[in-house]
Symmetry: C2
Subunit: 388 residues, 2 copies
């Protein structure tokens, strides 16, 4: 086990009707906030009315900025930064999924930075105070509700880049599983793939002696798989919605990577995909992850065999653990298919003609991505070919 | 799943040599602290010198209060409160195990309270600010290093009572598994029993639809059992020490009880035992827990069968799940025996003549203890008889 520091202070407020407390919770931090959200869905479901009523009841003034799209764009972030500066706003409430939260974090990071916010996503370190933020989560997927990370897309060149900074963790996050009943099936599935991928990125390591976090990862993956399938049968199953919502948070709150290194190549490759094609991140991951696995599993067959054994209940063929490893990858593909997710470019009707470009952009200004096995341009190209 | 609020802000600083950072970490909070510890062991191992050097190097002044004993006493707490008031101290550093940390929390809770600190352990609510505290952990067991709880014994009547309050969670806790190499075998085993019990108290619930936390509990229990046994063979196995130390924290940081009710009757009954006899808490638990299980398992045979299946890898006898449930309890007893812990009063050479008194004191001023099955005086007496 590596030495590590872990701290995650986000207050998790979980369960039915918890969004009613948003005003009184925010009142502890601010009297004037930016209310940041996507589009019509929170208005259609009535959530917008509940949130704004709670804010008004608590005497919290709010300026609105809507229009966040999946794969959130830096241009809207810049708009949010301008509003916060002009209106003297020191707190942001994100109501939505990972895109809205990540966009809010980018605004929070940019307001007190003199340069352009995109700098912070391309290596410029943060030496200033970020605004505080909170979330009301409507899509369990990205884990951004308690994470320190944010992923933003720059329309100029369609670069999708990540920023991580400790004080970008929300002060509190409100998670009501009932708010996810209205999610379309495809979006539910994409969320399930995303959170499963967050655990797998942490799970696939060459480290040994990481027993507890291995087992915590396996516990979370089994729960995601079981309850994801349950939701395919009944999207209004509160208990399954609650398990998925909680698992999505646990998957990305950094408790599962205490003392271990992760991989993250699949995420990086997927960011090239959804940066260009605007495919949902989860659907990109269900395409990339199995291909990555096929390309790298020989690097550590035992780990893939353990994955098959402990997550998919496969017996390990000790005379030929490779068989178990490959069987595990098949089981993962079967799961994604059962969730009605694409596992190949062609399933998502993506063209094949830009995989060279993606492989190049992936390692732009760096030697490689990935911790389990270093992935360079030529490796990325082979992985993308396996995914066609 | 129940509605819940979860927040645990303690910064965990984990790994080799991490105690060297104690001075610089404390400097973020205070220039003058109470250094609270037990007795000779931290001096003998050289830890005292490392800690005080780090404090001096960072310019942190410290007043010492040593003498904390297992099952920490309220009299020493009162002494600590007097020192903090007299010396104008606003931060406490606990160096030791759960007893030292719990004693520190009691001091932290008592300094700004006008009455006697014992009131806070007998129902008087906290309406004042507690001092901040931090820990350098030397015994993985109680989980007090990130928990909000504290257990103190009142010598006057030998009452052992618990207090829980959110701001009693340490600001940071330093966990270096190497510091546990010198723990005597018996103390290591008692710690293992204590942390396993913390998970079991959370695991034995009548709630259904708590998939994720069930599995996270099982992951933690398996890790504790595997690595506990590893330490019986080689107490200097860093990796096993690290797993046990991390598991002890995870067991009691409240992440395993998100959205579920626990039991805690075994802990309550054990507190009567160790309140009177000064037996190590972990050894008391290895006596009480199997007896409690034998008394209550019929209330929810499936849960005990699942425990046997998922923690001890027993096949479930679907025609007779009671057989699996009973087998699971046997396996737990076998584990405690392999850890060289007592599982009956007679193993610990405890007399039998005060079990009536313990059963009475257990429910003093309350109707019952326990969430899985209500335990009243007559039930406690039967459980204690099963433990003789």
């Amino acid at each position: 086990m590596n030495n590590f520091i872990f701290q995650n202070s986000t207050k998790l407020i979980f369960g039915k009707n918890t969004e009613d407390s948003v005003g009184s919770e925010i009142k502890n931090y601010s009297n004037k906030i930016l209310l940041h959200y996507g589009g019509g869905s929170i208005i259609k479901t009535g959530l917008y009315n509940k949130i704004t009523k709670s804010l008004k009841d608590s005497g919290v003034e709010f300026i609105e900025l809507s229009g966040v799209k999946p794969n959130p764009r830096v241009s809207l972030v810049r708009e949010g930064i301008d509003i916060c500066r002009k209106e003297n706003i020191d707190f942001i409430l994100a109501v939505g999924g990972g895109s809205v939260i990540d966009s809010s974090k980018a605004i929070a990071a940019g307001v007190n930075y003199a340069g352009d916010v995109w700098d912070l996503y391309t290596g410029t370190p943060i030496n200033h105070e970020c605004l505080k933020l909170a979330t009301v989560l409507t899509i369990p997927a990205a884990g951004s509700e308690t994470s320190s990370g944010s992923v933003i897309t720059n329309e100029d060149g369609l670069y999708k880049r990540a920023l991580g900074y400790p004080t970008l963790r929300p002060q509190f996050s409100i998670l009501n599983p009932e708010l996810t009943f209205t999610l379309p099936k495809y979006q539910t599935s994409c969320g399930v793939a995303d959170m499963l991928a967050h655990v797998m990125e942490r799970y696939f390591t060459n480290q040994t002696n990481v027993d507890l976090t291995d087992r915590l990862c396996e516990a979370t993956m089994k729960t995601i798989i079981d309850n994801g399938l349950r939701l395919m049968k009944n999207p209004n199953d509160y208990d399954a919605r609650a398990e998925i919502m909680l698992a999505g948070t646990v998957a990305h709150n950094d408790s599962l990577n205490m003392g271990r290194d992760g991989d993250w190549a699949s995420h990086d490759i997927e960011h090239e995909l959804s940066g260009i094609y605007d495919i949902a991140h989860g659907a990109g991951l269900s395409i990339i992850f199995p291909a990555w696995m096929k390309y790298v599993y020989k690097n550590n067959i035992n780990r893939f065999a353990q994955f098959g054994n402990r997550v998919f209940n496969l017996d390990i063929n000790l005379n030929n653990p490779e068989e178990t490893a490959l069987h595990a990858i098949e089981k993962l593909e079967e799961f994604f298919k059962a969730m009605e997710l694409p596992i190949r470019f062609k399933d998502a009707k993506l063209p094949e003609d830009r995989i060279d470009e993606m492989s190049k952009k992936l390692v732009h200004h760096k030697d490689h991505v990935g911790g389990f096995l270093p992935i360079r341009e030529k490796d990325a190209l082979k992985i993308l070919k396996l995914a066609l």
